[in-house]
Symmetry: C2
Subunit: 212 residues, 2 copies
Amino acid sequence: MTRSADTHRSGRRPGNSGARDEILSVAREMFATNGFDKTTIRGIAGRAAVDPALVHHYFGTKLDLFTESIALPVDPREVLAPVYAAPLDELGHALATALLGVWDSPHRDRVVAMFRAQISGDDTGLIRTFLLDVALEPLLKKIDRPAGTGRLRGELVATQMAGVMLVRYILALEPLASLPSKQFVDMIAPTLQHYLTGELPEVDDSVPHQAP
Amino acid sequence: MTRSADTHRSGRRPGNSGARDEILSVAREMFATNGFDKTTIRGIAGRAAVDPALVHHYFGTKLDLFTESIALPVDPREVLAPVYAAPLDELGHALATALLGVWDSPHRDRVVAMFRAQISGDDTGLIRTFLLDVALEPLLKKIDRPAGTGRLRGELVATQMAGVMLVRYILALEPLASLPSKQFVDMIAPTLQHYLTGELPEVDDSVPHQAP
């Protein structure tokens, strides 16, 4: 689960931290602005004026580079692998278990720091790319029933889990913050399951206006 | 719904903004540290070295002063009055309606700004006091069934609504952000109702330890 970037970093030649930082800075900007799929290693290398091979050398794959860009201590798709593989009627429980497994682990502080940094900055593009393109994307086909509802379902899940991050870890409201992982998972799993596969009130697509 | 502080402010004598700012600064610190109930106008006045009457003159009641301390554009207990008065089986819908009524109103920007400021600072005491002592307190008796579960229920509700604030207003993920208020209320009301009055997995009180 630990990211591979540290090994890359330790292997770099001295004096090249400038190029490394420049790649990371360009990557953050491009992932935030263009999303994950439309951002390429080649494009990042071009803007950072380095060879694409150097990007791979420092950071590994595009997903490794994204993970480093957003300062995550774990590979999100590795964490979520059991969720992508879970049967439909166990998705909610699998998702809560996977996320709490990281959030209640020694990685907690770094995950919380990443979350706070991303939501308090002016540009929330990076965490949007993370939620929609990286974390949710492999799950989309599975939960897109009826067709067209998948993304909204994923975003409803995001409302529940973002709030858990805030109330359990940042505000640390008791008794909720001290509930053992397993009990807390059981409390929120039904909500996630409902958002992922339950019946949603009909959405009127003919009036997609922003509420006043 | 508009707070009364502006009228107090316009009535003050020129040259006294120092005392007014000092009162507000002391109030923020005491509300954050001691909560709402244990903080008194008299105590704030004492620490700010002014007469309690001056605090009332500038800010009105203790709740008015709190509302100003946390920079809320509306009186939270006025907003939540329909929730406190709602029948048990309509609590979830009443709560979602009351909150979205403000969040989707012209007050939105100030509420979002308050929320961002409070969660990104080092001291989250003020928003904890707000959630637990000010917003939740009048509802506690009603949802404390079985006895002892009320506060946890309120905090579960806070996880859902804090996440809505983040995903719908701060990250503004589409299509969720543009769903009309009423449709969005219908989507989250069942979750709130479940947390407020539904059956929760049993909490093992004998092991109230912080997860590792």
